[in-house]
Amino acid sequence: MTRRPVQGRAAPDRAPAGGPLGEPALFSGGVLRNQRVAAGLYELLLAVPDAGDPPRPGQFVSLVLESGVAQPEFEGLEGPLLRRPFSVAGFVQARGRRRLKLLYASVGRITRRMAALVPGANIGLLGPLGTPFPLEVPEPILLVGGGRGIAPLLYLGETLACRGRAFALVYGARRGAEMLPAGQLPGGSIWLATEDGARGRRGTVLDVLDGLRLEAPTVMACGPHGMLASVAGWSAARGAACWVSVEAVFGCGTGLCGGCAIPAAGKPPDFLWACRQGPVLPAESVDWERWNASDL
């Protein structure tokens, strides 16, 4: 089951470039498709301009539902004031056209309105933002996703598949109904866990990891921070390098406000900005104990 390169489904013309991260841009996205893919989980496919740096796996975009790039006629009461960040769940560039895929759970004021977006609508985007997952790492790479935390791992998995890299996926959710269909998951080696036992093993991704007979020198995870803390601990105990994609309440998403602080390991009371120093962070750079204690 290990060291088997998996087949990618949608191979882009150009894999995301390496090198230094470019400056993000404001642009608009045209809704091509917006569909429910699981209970409370939606996939939004956007046509975006063929300009600027393509997003790399792990990076995110920040959106407002009002169309256009700037909003000179912005009226505060029309909707939430702040943008909302979403991990890039897929990106394809072919024949001068770019498609951006976002996966979102309909849980809040913005995401409930997102669920009502119809093809032809335009939304405002800012990105790509944040740090990407490193790609030049020892294989096989174990991807671990919890709930809607699967989003960045979809794009990461497709990218790894395109590059012929060996990886496997552990994916968990509370209920089977909230889980993406198997056909939409990247890679050939996939283990599932659900708390209701409807799909895969009954339990959490940690239960799968504990029973896993796979020597993975690299782990990349995204999900609730409690899950990330456990995956970080599991990885450390096995000497695996672990990267996590963290979620926090963002003000700006660009490192301008300092609102998305999470506790940094080392000398308290230092903080990392989830939007700019993250969202992808080496697991050991986070103080998981302090984060868990903060009840965020």
Partner: protein
Amino acid sequence: MTCDLSTDLGPLGLANPVMNASGTFGYGDEWPRLCNTAVLGAIVTKTLTLEPRAGNPPPRLQETPSGLLNSIGLQNVGVTAFLAEHLSALRALRPPVIASVGGASAEEFAAVVERLEAGALEAYELNVSCPNVAQGGLSFGRSPGETARVVRGVRRVTQRPLFVKLTPNVTDIVAIGRAALDEGATGLTAVNTFLGMEIDLERSRPRFGRVGAGLSGPAIRPLALYRIWELARSLDCPLIGAGGIVTARDAAAFMMAGATAVQVGTATLRDPARPAALVTELATFAEARGLARIRDLVASLEGLRDVP
């Protein structure tokens, strides 16, 4: 007709009246292209303290209707790292640089400014109004005597233009402003955030560790506008308006009420290019009204200085 957007804050000439508000624009050098920072009238840095500050434990933000509560707690790299790592990049952009200065004591304010005197920057904005720190901040800005002491100490170490950023969380904002001017402040910035709070109903406790947090954004615009009007009626000094400004109409209202310049804060979090876009929009607004000079808008509100 093209409108002349230039304006003067005392001895400090600006190409236009638009700047960013401290704390919502990083150090000012983060995203020069995304923000088009070079077109601003001035750039205001994040508040700098003598030593690096980690800031407050999370949570630090709570969105409110048309507003934002924050409890960042003056997280910053400290004045030494600012001079070494940010000032030259800021300098490479054209606009004048205004360093926002904070401190837990009057002595710290003076010490920070003394360090910054070695740097190529144009002016200072003293943050005696941050609601999110235990020492300094709001406790200074609520007292005319303490405000005077901070300004006096800073005036001893600099001849550069000095603006004092006022808190609206006082009974008489004019008294605080007058105390600052009496000690040699060049002008006043009004306002910093309004104190507010939020309760986490599920956990039956305040959302923020310090309970109180600073409210900003369009929600406070009329409140801030009234403070500028109050200051302009009583004091003769350059005023910088801040509080919920998003559009050219917002900026024009603050200028009519007496502001010579305006700052865009929370709107920048939604749209990082908003301050730069406002420069263009303000020109369009002024030209549509046949204004030859934007400075003619300042304090143009009829009856502004009449006794009520």
